[in-house]
């Protein structure tokens, strides 16, 4: 057995997995707090990548400041999305919300195709050309950056949810929105802030992972699909579920891609998840089906 190859694939899987965790944490938070499946979530990933690209090419700032700027901008967009879209619809049937978010996702994708052009763009990062060696395993600095930044940001997010007053408000809203409102929690504010977190995390993922591949306006549907698979695997609304599910998907895909077939890699990833769901329909960390 080739241990270097295995280690290399595991390293790649961990980095891809971190990307999935960043995407799906936002998705699962929005579901947990608002009980909403947001189909447009992938578009924030796409916007994060493109805003980073345009921040660098039009404002002339470096890669890292551009990443931070894009993350903040898309996070701010989250407030607008909640105020204009999800808050007014909060009492509608879940199909209506799901389908209108799907409509919004198509709207943003097509607008982006018109605005940014169909052709894939290369997001330039100073870290893609240099490598870091761990023994015989070679990883680009960009991948290390993705992993490290994700660990820091996710750690801060988990800590905020667990230890701050605001985190308590979020968890209270997730448990029982009306009960939370009765204790004086401003539900609307909690919803808005949840969207800031969700959109910011997705945008950060897009701008960090962008340099590892080409970016194009339809990348959002790829991102949201991965996010969905992860949250269903981990359990909808569960934050630890998103972490374990994302990592598992990343590693499974990397191993399946290298040992079985690159083309069918994604199909194998889905297939394994379906097997898990046969065993635990509510997902690994999900509560009982309501």
């Amino acid at each position: 057995m080739d241990w270097t190859l295995l280690g290399q694939q595991l390293a790649n899987g961990l980095v891809n997995g971190m990307n999935y965790v960043l995407i799906s944490t936002g998705l699962t938070l929005v579901f947990g707090v608002l009980r909403v499946i947001n189909f447009a979530h992938g578009e924030f990933y796409m916007l994060g990548a493109f805003l980073t690209y345009y921040g660098m090419s039009m404002l002339g700032i470096g890669y890292l400041p551009s990443v931070i700027l894009a993350t903040i901008a898309v996070g701010g967009l989250g407030v607008a999305v909640n105020t204009l879209f999800f808050w007014p619809l909060r009492r509608e049937h879940e199909f209506t919300i799901l389908l209108s978010s799907l409509g919004m996702s198509l709207l943003v994708t097509h607008a982006a195709e018109l605005g940014f052009g169909h052709d894939p763009k290369y997001l330039n990062s100073p870290f893609t050309d240099d490598i870091v060696e761990f023994g015989t395993i070679v990883v680009t600095q960009q991948r290390v950056l993705v992993f490290a930044a994700a660990v820091v940001v996710l750690g801060a997010t988990y800590a905020a949810i667990k230890y701050t007053t605001f985190g308590k408000m979020m968890r209270a809203t997730a448990q029982h929105a009306e009960g939370a409102a009765l204790t004086g929690i401003n539900i609307r504010f909690v919803h808005s802030f949840t969207f800031v977190l969700a959109c910011g995390l997705a945008a950060l993922a897009g701008s960090l992972v962008g340099p590892l591949a080409m970016i194009f306006p339809t990348v959002g549907s790829w991102a949201v699909l991965k996010g969905f698979i992860v949250v269903v695997l981990g359990g909808l609304g569960s934050v630890p579920g998103a972490l374990v599910g994302g990592m598992a998907l990343g590693i499974i895909e990397a191993l399946a891609g290298s040992y079985i077939s690159l083309g069918f890699m994604e199909a194998i990833g889905y297939a394994i998840i379906i097997l898990v769901l046969l065993w635990r329909p509510q997902g690994l960390f999900g509560g009982a089906v309501r």
Binding site: L99, G103, F228, F264, A267, Y270, I274, V289
Partner: protein, 327 residues
Amino acid sequence: MRSLPLPGVAVFAAIAVLPFLTGSSYLHHVMVLWLLFALLALSLNVIIGYLGELSFGHAAFFGLGAYASAVLTLQTGAPVWLGLVFAGVLAGMAGFAIGYVSLRIVGPQFAILTLGFGSIIYTVTNYWVDLTRGPMGITNIPPLTLPIVGPLTEARGYFGVVLACVALFAYACHALMTSRTGRAFLAVRENAPLAASLGIDVFRTKLLGFVTATVVAGVAGGLYAHYLRVITPELMSLHYMAALIIMVVVGGRGTIIGPILGAAIYVVLLEVLRAFGPARLIVFAALLTLSVIFLPNGLVSLWPRLMAARDRRQARLVSPADAETSP
């Protein structure tokens, strides 16, 4: 035999006349596309409207049927009708396997799971290049041949075939919904635990609906392949998955005329919006989003709403007299 519903017969008679009103082969083509999507939307309606679950995998069964029929007829030289049967059987078998796994789960999880299954079928079709020629698609698919008429290469002839299929399936849906099984479907949709307590096998009822829907989607896929005679994996892409659901919901889920209307809106709107050039799909997505938000029960709910508004207006006209008597 049940009596035929007269309004339905009238609607289909009116549709049957449509191709004779114009000589334009472009319009004929649009009409055939409409009916093909109407058949698909009707089949998806069994899942969304009658079972009350959202399936994102339906485009995959459509694509599966299209590929099954195209590959069989091209590789073995089998007649097209056999290809269509094969398309229905294969899609139904896939529907049984996928339904068996995923119908244990309900709500958003089910929607996402079907999205995952749909993506698997899409990915496999895209990469199994030896069989499907991958993203290049399959070309030169033989046209449907009828016993007396010969090969149907013209849109007007094909219109008749597809219309017959739509009418047959619409009647089947009507018959289903007036039967005991149909009432079991609705009971499961409205309250599954209550339905189970009345002795309805919820899982089997759902599986029956799901497999029926996928068989019809497969046949519709086969019809599509032998009509356009070119297919690519894009048939199963997210665009079509979303478009099918939108047809059912915009038209009116749980009704028979709704999905047919929704398919018409989808096909006609995309053609009319060509005037907008590249912004076409943006306008389309915006219109759909607005219609889902403001008409959650679809266009068919517009008519009762208008009638209610008229009644209110009339009530207001006579209200001065009532106002004095009421406290």
